[in-house]
Structures are given as structure tokens and as C-alpha cells.
Symmetry: none
Subunit: 195 residues, 4 copies
């Protein structure tokens, strides 16, 4: 009994995802250039050739991974859609961030390492811009509403700090007291804990 076209589609999707996940882990661990297709195939328990059945090239595989990562980010990073950050949401926002870093640690490791290579950075540039602009505007707006003077500079500084926290948390996850730091930030910015 042959499968229906839908079933085939399902299988394709599942397999494609599996390849992406495997590749992401390896790219994140060893770097994009240092990871051969053959290793991805071996780790994913499929043949080298099959990867080219799903992706045109190694680079297309990479962009697919990046796309997936950003999509997942957008899905999970729900700012209430109106993109306005209330005080309660600010706390949630911070927790969210570290939770996403946890669940997407490999993605973010890869993301940072790609951003540092001009030759590749352009590949992911568009996706990054969307995210970056949204984040800074949300933060700037947040600080404005709190009457912080130089809200723009504060937003930039705060954004940079988030970058730094992310980076440190990704590289040294175990040396990083996440909860202490979140509380510290809430206090620093005079935000009263919800819970």
C-alpha cells in the first residue's frame, strides 16, 4: 500500500528537520567551515548524498538552519504582539531571553560565530536586522515610557549588555548565576518582582 502524497511530504519534512538539527549541533560546536558534510551525514545516520536531496548546497543548509532558528525565536519570544513592554513583561522578557538561550544554545552559538565572519554575516544579515530593530525599538520605547533621559543610549547600552550576557551565558553556562543576575537587573532598573 503506497503512501499518500501527504505522508511523503511528512517524511520529507521530518528528515529535513533531522538533518538541520544534526548540522546545527555540529556547526555550533566546531564551526561551519570545520564541519564536513560527511560528518553531518554520519551523525544523522544517513548517506552523504541524501543531504543533497534536501539541500542544494552546504550553504543552503546553513541558511535553512538560520531561518529555522529565527522563526523559532519569533514564535517563542512573545512580546504580546503589540511590542509594548510593561513592567511585568520586562521581567518576563528577561526570563524569556535566558530560557530561549537555553533551548537554542547551539543556534545562538552559531549565530554569534557567523556574525563575526564578514563573508558569512551577509547571508544572515536580513534576518538579524529585523530582530535587532524590533528589540531596540521595544527597549527604547520602554525606557522612554519610564522617562529615562537618553532613552536611545540607554537602549543601546542595555541591548549591548544583553548581548554580553548572552555571549557569556553561551560560552560558560555553568559559571553564570542566571537568577542572581536577573534579580540584580530588576533591582537596578527599579522593577518590582511579579512573584
Amino acid at each position: 500500500m503506497p503512501r499518500t502524497p501527504e505522508q511523503y511530504e511528512q517524511i520529507r519534512k521530518g528528515k529535513k528537520l533531522h538533518i538541520c538539527e544534526t548540522a546545527l549541533e555540529l556547526f555550533a560546536q566546531n564551526g561551519y567551515h570545520a564541519t564536513p558534510i560527511s560528518q553531518i551525514a554520519k551523525e544523522a545516520n544517513i548517506s552523504k548524498g541524501l543531504i543533497y536531496n534536501y539541500f542544494e548546497s552546504k550553504e543552503e543548509l546553513l541558511t535553512n538552519i538560520i531561518d529555522n532558528g529565527f522563526n523559532e525565536l519569533i514564535d517563542n519570544f512573545d512580546l504580546n504582539k503589540d511590542n509594548i513592554l510593561t513592567d511585568e513583561e520586562f521581567e518576563f522578557f528577561l526570563h524569556s531571553m535566558f530560557k530561549i538561550l537555553d533551548s537554542q544554545r547551539s543556534f545562538w552559538k552559531l549565530y554569534f560565530s557567523l556574525m563575526l565572519q564578514s563573508s558569512i554575516a551577509q547571508i544572515i544579515e536580513p534576518k538579524v536586522k529585523v530582530w535587532y530593530d524590533m528589540l531596540t525599538s521595544v527597549l527604547e520605547d520602554f525606557f522612554k515610557r519610564r522617562n529615562v533621559k537618553n532613552a536611545r543610549t540607554e537602549a543601546l547600552t542595555f541591548g549591548a549588555m544583553l548581548d554580553g550576557l548572552s555571549l557569556d551565558y553561551i560560552i560558560y553556562p555553568n559559571m553564570f548565576p542566571v537568577d542572581d543576575i536577573i534579580n540584580h537587573l530588576l533591582e537596578k532598573y527599579n522593577i518590582h518582582k511579579k512573584s
Copy 2:
């Protein structure tokens, strides 16, 4: 008659530096793994073979570059030797940091990208540790003297922010209002400008 040993030493030193500088630019721009030795040679206007007259391997070239970078950092990042940060020095410290990022932009780009690849991170680990420990202890001490509670957490947060600022400044140097940010930080931490 052959050149004197001193002359040879001079030639070697100059050429070695030239190779390091060229390689650093390329490693920073495209990444260590994505930069072939042949490209370094071409850019430096020398033959491939000559590089191996100065370095045992591509990896040794890399570690040499890292060593140079950290040595230059230590030389320029003078904290008054006592490693105690006064208020005046704090301002100087921030300016120092951005000045060094400016003069060593490629080095820091390379540094961050290496830190993100487990397979390479260990190569530079020892050098990094020395620097990292010094920095956090100086900062922790600074905050303690200012009676900040949770000086340790504050130091971690502040350190992360410096990381983030550095990263953003390295990736998007032109979108980054350095002076505004420095002033913002000085105000934020209640430090009165010297000048």
C-alpha cells in the same frame, strides 16, 4: 660574506610581524578555518613556503597572533599596576577599552570568534583566563569599595556589558556612539567626569 646574525634576526623579526599582521586581518575578516595559507601569502606578497620558514604550522601562526594580541593588550591596558581602580581611573579605564578595541579591532574580532569554537577555544584558554580573572577581580574590588551590595554579581553584569559593548562596537563600529555611551555609563555609576 653572509649577513651577521643580527641582520638575519632583524629580517626575521620584521617579516614575522608582517605575516602575523596580514594573517590577523584575514583571520578576523573571514575566520581562521576559512582563510587558506595561500591567501595570507598572496596578501603578504610572499610565497606560501616562506610562512613555514617562520611558523611550524597554521595553528602555530594563530597562537602567535593571539600571544601578540594579549601582550599588546597587557602593555596598553595599564591599570596603574596596583590593579586598584579609582574613580578617575574608571573613566580612563572605559576610554582605554574603546581605544584598544579600535587599535586591535581585528584581534578582538578573531578573539570572539575563536572563543565560540570549542575545538579552538582551548588553544587560547590560558591567555584568556589570566585576562578574565584580572578584569573581574579589579571590577569586583571597585564595586566593593563603592559599597555596592552584591559586588560580585555587579561585577559579572558589568563585565558582561563590557563584552556586549565590545562585540557590538567591533561588529558595527559606525553605528556605535562611543562617547555617548561612556558618558551614560559614568552617570549611571555616579562617577564625576574628570574633565
Copy 3:
């Protein structure tokens, strides 16, 4: 639909053998170090890269060849399994030896040349030892049974002579009257011809 594993296995076996045979000829003719992989590939009408699909390295290719050679030797050099040499078998033994030298000329040329390079000799040492010990013990036993005094020394001398004959026969096959020499040896050692 892909080939069955058996078909792949068949292809691999055949190709692997073909590479070994080609490489053996070239190694024997020009020496291991003087034979580039590229030449082997060209001679075997395959690409350089393919060789590395079958062998991890040039050295592994060499050891494979050596293993094959010794296995073939053991297979063909049947001493009646009891390892006792009767007079009839002695004659057969000599004929055997030259026949094997004929069919494995390249192998033995390679064997001798490897034995003369300390840096490589160790690679083949284990295989050699097995063969060498078997040969000397069989010969010593043979001479003992014939009441030759100093059977050990006689075995050593005789073994050396076989080495010398082999070497000369390999280097100058056409200048070497094999049958005359065999007869001469049989007479010398008082062995009555079977036929």
C-alpha cells in the same frame, strides 16, 4: 534504488585490490617514498581522492600491500602443515621458493627495500618475524635430522644463501640460471632428485 550492500562490498573489494596491485608495482619499481599517490591514481585510472576512500593514508596502503603479500605467501608456501621437511619436500621447497619469487617478484622487491629503511622496517617487522622464525626452525630441524653438526649455523648460512639467491634473482632475473642452481644445491646437500 541503491545497490545492495553486497554489490557495494563487491565493488569495494575489486577496486581495493586493483589499487593495491597498481601501488605494489610502482612501490617496487621506484620505492615507496619516490612514488606519489598521484602516480598510483593515474596508473590505476582513478582519481587521487578515491584512494583515500579505500585507505586512510599512504602508509595504510603500504601495510595493506604487505599484509596481502605475506598472506599470499603463507597460502602458497605449503610445507605440508607439519612444518617438517622431508628430502622430497626439500626439493619441492626450493622450487616453491623460486616460483613464489616469480609470482610475487614485486612484493619481494618491495619487501627487501623496506627492510633496509629503519624508519619503515618496523611497520612490517611483525609479519617478517613470523615468517623468519618459521623458516629457520624448519631448516634447523631439517639439518638436525640429517645429522649435520652445527645445524643452527648451517641453517643460518643456508637461510642467508636463500636471501642472497632471492635478492639476486629479483634484481637480475634473466642472468640467473634457476634450474642449474637448484640442481647444484640438491647435489651439494646430497639430496636425490625425485623426478
Copy 4:
């Protein structure tokens, strides 16, 4: 006070010999192709360039070494010039052979390994031929005078045995009871010991 032309010549000769000796050791140990000029220079405590002051190429260095070796051989292997081997001289001949193998071990190791590479064998062919012809004719003559029938075959066999003994002695000098073997040969060929 400048040196006289003769003194310069003397220095040149000495240095040339020193290079040859160093190269011979290395060629013998690791093989001609596996020994880089740079290693010879380092071992001889001179610069790479200097070697090309004395020899046109690596190959010319090799032929020089071979020539030296054969010349030394001819010098030391005194057969009383008439090239006739008496019984007394036969014993001396055997001792001589092993003594020369001892003093020229590296040379003979190199010699055998070169003989096994067609591409190089031709370089040394002429020298070898002279020696080989002399040896076989002396031996054939010796056996003829002793009324050995098939003196030619006996000479070939004996020559092969000498080759084999030499080879074994060179490769495994310590496992080889030279004196026992010489005595054994003398007895075997019915030659009464002088001493």
C-alpha cells in the same frame, strides 16, 4: 696572512668529505628520498646553501658517496692484485668481507637499497658492474682451480650466499655469529685454517 691555494683545496676536500659522511649515514638510515638536504646540513653543522657549493644537486651528492664507497672498497679489498685467490687468501677474503661490511655498514645498506630501485639503480650500475664481474671471475677461477665441477654455478651460488650473508649482517648485525659462520664456511669448503 691568507691561506695558500693548497690550504684552501685541503679545506674544501675536508668539508666535502664531511658532508658526504653525514649524508651517507642519513641516506642509509632513512633512505635517499626520505632524507632532506636540510637535515644533512643540520647534522653536518653547516648551512643548506653550502652543500650546493660543493655539489650540483642532491643526486650528485649521492653519486659522490657511491664513488667514495666503491673506491674505499677497492682500496681495502686487496686480493694481492693478481686477482687469484689462494686457500690462505680465501680465509682472509671472508674475514675481509665482514670487516669491510663493518667499516662500511652504512654504505652497504645504502648500496642495497639503491639497487632495489630501478630509477636509481642505473646511476650506480657502472660501478657495480666492475665490482660484480671482478668478484665472480675471481670466485669462478678459485673453484676451477679446486676442480669443482660447474665452477660457474658454484661461483654464482657462493656469490649469492655472500650477498645474503652481507644483507643479513647489515640488517641484523647483533643476531649474526660472524666467526661461527666463517668457520663453518671454511670447513664446508675444505679449507684449512691458517691460524
